[in-house]
Symmetry: C2
Subunit: 672 residues, 2 copies
């Protein structure tokens, strides 16, 4: 067998495993693995620097399958190269309990670098990884000591490139000159509705050149030699990200479905699978067959990887000798460790504040206090830093002129911002934060969802959190967004009521290593509560707490968050003056509260007390959880309007007087 | 005064009015109006075919201010050219009750074609308008009778072009060859964080050429002669959309803020406003000054517009004589009228269905039944038509080869799809629908929100609405999306339980002219309920109804939607067999239900009955509205998993047995 024949056999092994897995599952996407196997094979056997026995090695090259529906391809490679993913699991593709999940899932499957499937996400995640790489390299590499220098490879599809998300990320990657980013575009001219001609006729190469990318090809993406030459060319230009346009045939090998949309999203069928395998020189009747010499060849990744990590270990050793402090810091960052005392003084930071302060301003102060103590913290905003108060003072701008800058400028690209932050987080070594106005959370929902699904530490800062935005009007006033954040599983949302709660919210956010945290902050100034009068803001860490009360056995519960706490307190004092026995509970984070033991929750919101009022400047949907059928949720169940913020609060009925009236009604059993 | 001087005076009038309005409001964006006034002036006085006295004239050119933050500029033009917007309202810019709202709002202000502000939306809306124009032109124009042929102009900003949304829309516009689309790019090199160099260095012209656009310029966007020549050039190429790159200076005229980010988003200040006006040759002390000859000149738009509409009226008259039927149809479409009997037979369509049917399949059948009866109905999907069942049989594909096609191929561009549909709806003459998987609602949330805010008739179809998606796993399984739809004010969400309810859901969607409707449909087959046994599906039109019960005074209420109705019914029969007196309420649309009179709602969900169970394959957040503190909301408060759909239902506890157990617990007063 010639080298070329053997290589083809390796590629066909990947193809056959993929379509066998899809056929066994009777579900999945055979077309992309058949078309892209050669590209993947070349990347994985000739370029990818990785150690299947140590998938957490920090300086490995990252491989992103942005076309996540081609998951079977990735699982085949993971199995073949020796990751902890067995052939049995591949046989259980897409079944309950198998780590060969429907789409690649970060945290579930060793070797999967990020969760992909929703198109464009992997593309942007890779940009985040490349940012993290450059930033760590710039911070830690020293002359003669290069301890951070890896590539980020991806396979991206037509669908990835049609999504606006990838346009945003690509434009930014070009601007940033991320030369270690090399994306292979699986250009197969087919999408679900038919030929891409139906909706995608743009000149992709010219588009990427306009972003400042190096574009290689088009090449024959099914010819391994061409792919190898192209990737080498891509690697040579270290100042520009590269797109290698690989022409492929979707469903290659399938006699009746190759080159058509029918190869995309459903199994080929028993018969067609058999015919395809025969076409590829395979035996139809032996599913999951792997020729032993092919397996041995792929498994060389283990010894190669072992050597690569050993080399890196010794580089680190020498680095540690020369730069012990830097080495210690880098290692701590890579482990995600925080320095002792990182949160020192935060609880007291605003206790003696005398003037009202917007929680976005308080957040900015906390962030700048944290930045010197948490070296891994970096981030930025979608062109709103002066408003979101997220600039790190005295730190540079991240960019080709200075990759050590900690201030990222994402541009007006919220979706890419979120997905890039996710990529940074899964890369490791950094704690990313993002910022925009809360209403624009809608522009980045898919990325926030994926952060939650992946369970990664990203801090999403959202300011201008209500009709308090004022004159910009309903397009800029969040109404359903706070509840929208709460609706996402594994996302912790915190809407602090004042500066002191904001400081504690940051503590909770940094401590949350199992999922993202959304900080929801005001544009407008709020009183800083006197914690001599009100309960300590440490209650934020429990999500909700009794802030003020007339007695331990209240007849009325008032539950509020953020800026509306101050309205609730005003109303509460009026009611208290009328002799009503009540409690105001601050509930900045439902998720943290609901994670508390039942007795704590009962102590804050006694279930026997059914006269309940909730107050939040957003939709009431969801507040019935706490208000109940006998209580009253006060909120805003319409869009906002253009007017100064204080006037809007009055016009839309968010006033102490209204709260008092509703409370009296509820106490009467008013029939809500 | 020379013509040039007079023109400059006109432009400066627009500038001065804008900054006076911003200063009076002490809120707003002076920079863009100062920079873009010349561009806007040239468009409005030399090109825009419109009639300020008749803003609803169907064949007017559309003007979209995609950079909605420059709203003061638009209001100045509306006032000057004679729209029903007084100088007094301009003086009340951004205040409660003024139609000169913070950002332009469709439906609020005559002459505002679409609501803009969230960047990229106006850009994509314009593409939708141009699609509607071409489609109506292709359907109705006849040789010698051109009754539809207008342009769509827009002013777009750096921010618009950075958003991925505009990339999606631009790529599609290029593909579609929408030559009547002419966008002026206000290229001022400044965004909020500073020079656009910080995050936006791509070659915009090359990027748009790659999409198939004609690119004109860069020109000096503050020189009216250059703008005029460029727009003429743009208009000449009728086969490609045009981007005219206009270099401008943000805050032009402001001695201390011009060309800087400080001119963008806050008033110049009293003193700087005065200095700017002096710079422009204005008197500082006369706010809202309009030279009489300038006003007369702008007001010529009224007589010009009058003549244009008269010409069109006579063209329509002649068209009516030659093509009476077509004229009648076109006029009915433009008025949004439906033919009598459009919904005939829908209620009965599936009554004798014998096999289970996915609601997406039922929806496809209904859509194809409606299409011949509702000529204005057209739409498509984000490359998922075979799955969303949204292809119109026997209808062509909309594109340069056939602009009369009713099947749109949006490509994998959900966000643009939504915003384009919005543009089609505000254009008039068409009823657009879109389709994608429910989980990808997240990719298009901002567009759906704007449809709701604008109160326009768009049908958003979302299929694959739960973990019933199965093997594709958590990235593709909606969890929080159904409740997310319900969270948007003025959006009607309908999740039908079977084919018959689906038909009624379509009736409700088409009848809803004051806002968008989201149809939430299953991937998996569902039994078609025997309406001899169960209550009539006409109850869908009231949002919720008693579907099945053991008596009129139940002790237990079970409330469910969509596919979970069938689980609830199974559980209900088991409970009924045990002698429990209960009712199953189908609640496909909370919004329609909550719009019913109190006595109807009480008749379906008697408030005295507190033993309540809700069942839906999504988050429970929000269901407490109906379940109450003493009931139990059964749902899924985690992400899904990869496995076949039926297995996931079992694994995640959505089974009749579980429902029975929870119901028994609730009946006991189980302390939930």
């Amino acid at each position: 067998m010639t080298d070329t024949d053997f290589e083809q056999q390796c590629i066909n092994t990947v193809r056959a495993l993929s379509i066998d897995a899809v056929q066994r599952a009777n579900s999945g996407h055979p077309g992309a693995p058949l078309g892209a196997a050669a590209m993947a094979h070349v990347l994985w056997t000739r370029f990818l620097r990785h150690n299947p026995a140590n998938p957490g090695w920090s300086n490995r090259d990252r491989f992103v399958l942005s076309a996540g529906h081609a998951s079977a391809l990735l699982y085949a490679l993971l199995y073949l190269t020796g990751y902890d993913l067995s052939l049995e699991e591949l046989k259980g593709f897409r079944q309950w309990g198998s780590r060969a999940a429907g789409h690649p899932e970060y945290g579930l499957t060793p070797g999967v670098e990020t969760t992909t499937g929703p198109l464009g996400q992997g593309f942007a995640n890779g940009v985040g990884m490349a940012i993290a790489e450059r930033w760590l390299a710039s911070r830690y590499n020293r002359p003669g000591h290069t301890v951070v220098d890896h590539y980020v490879y991806a396979i991206v599809s037509d669908g990835d490139l049609q999504e606006g998300l990838s346009s945003e990320a690509a434009s930014l990657a070009g601007q940033l000159g991320l030369g270690r980013l090399i994306y292979l575009y699986d250009d197969n001219s087919i999408s679900i509705e038919g030929p891409t001609q139906l909706s995608f006729t743009e000149d992709v190469g010219a588009r990427f050149r306009s972003y400042g990318w190096q574009v290689v090809g088009p090449i024959d993406g099914m010819n391994p030699q061409e792919v190898e030459v192209a990737v080498r060319e891509a690697r040579e230009d270290i100042n520009h990200p590269s797109l290698v346009i690989c022409r492929t045939i979707i469903g290659y090998g399938s006699p009746h479905k190759a080159g058509t949309a029918r190869a995309h999203g459903e199994p080929l069928g028993e018969e067609e699978t058999a015919l395809t395998k025969i076409n590829l020189g395979w035996k139809a009747e032996e599913p999951f067959h792997v020729p032993p010499d092919v397996l041995s060849y792929f498994r060389e990744a283990l010894s190669r990887g072992q050597k690569q990590t050993e080399n890196w270990d010794s580089a680190m050793k020498s680095y540690s000798s020369a730069y012990p402090e830097e080495a210690r810091q880098l290692e701590a960052q890579l482990r995600g460790e925080l320095a002792d005392g990182w949160d020192e003084g935060l609880a007291a930071l605003f206790l003696s504040a005398e003037k009202p302060m917007a929680t976005r301003v308080a957040s900015g102060a906390v962030l700048n206090r944290l930045a010197p103590r948490i070296r891994s913290l970096l981030g930025g905003s979608a062109d709103l830093a002066p408003s979101t108060k997220t600039l790190l003072d005295g730190e540079g701008d991240f960019g080709p002129a200075d990759y050590s800058g900690r201030n990222l400028h994402f541009g007006i690209r919220e979706h890419a911002m979120g997905a890039i932050a996710n990529g940074m987080a899964v890369h490791g070594g950094v704690i990313p934060y993002t910022a925009t106005f809360l209403v624009f959370y809608d522009y980045m929902r898919p990325a926030v969802r994926l952060a939650a699904l992946m369970g990664i530490r990203v801090v999403f800062i959202f300011t201008h959190d209500s009709i308090g935005v004022g004159e910009d009007g309903p397009t800029h006033q969040p109404i359903e967004q706070v509840m929208g954040l709460r609706s996402v599983p594994n996302l912790t949302t915190i809407r602090p009521a004042d500066a002191t709660e904001t400081a504690m919210a940051w503590v909770a956010a940094i401590e949350n290593v199992h999922g993202p945290t959304a900080l929801v902050l005001t544009r407008q100034s709020l009183p800083v509560l006197d914690r001599g009068v009100y309960a300590s803001a440490e209650g934020v860490l429990r999500g909700g707490y009794s802030l003020w009360q007339t007695s331990d056995s209240p007849d009325l519960l008032m539950i509020a968050t953020g800026s509306e706490i101050h309205l609730a307190l005003e109303a509460a004092r009026i009611l208290a003056d009328r002799g009503i026995n009540l409690r105001v509970a601050s509930m900045p984070s439902w998720e943290l509260f609901e994670a508390q033991p039942q007795d704590y929750r009962e102590s804050v919101l006694p279930s026997a007390v059914r006269a309940r009022i909730s107050v939040e400047a957003g939709i009431t949907l969801g507040w019935e959880r706490y208000a109940g059928l006998d209580g009253k949720a006060i909120g805003i169940d319409r869009f906002g309007a253009s007017a100064p913020g204080p006037e809007l609060y009055r016009r839309l009925g968010l006033t102490p007087d209204r709260i008092v009236q509703e409370a009296l009604q509820v106490l009467k059993g008013g029939g809500y």
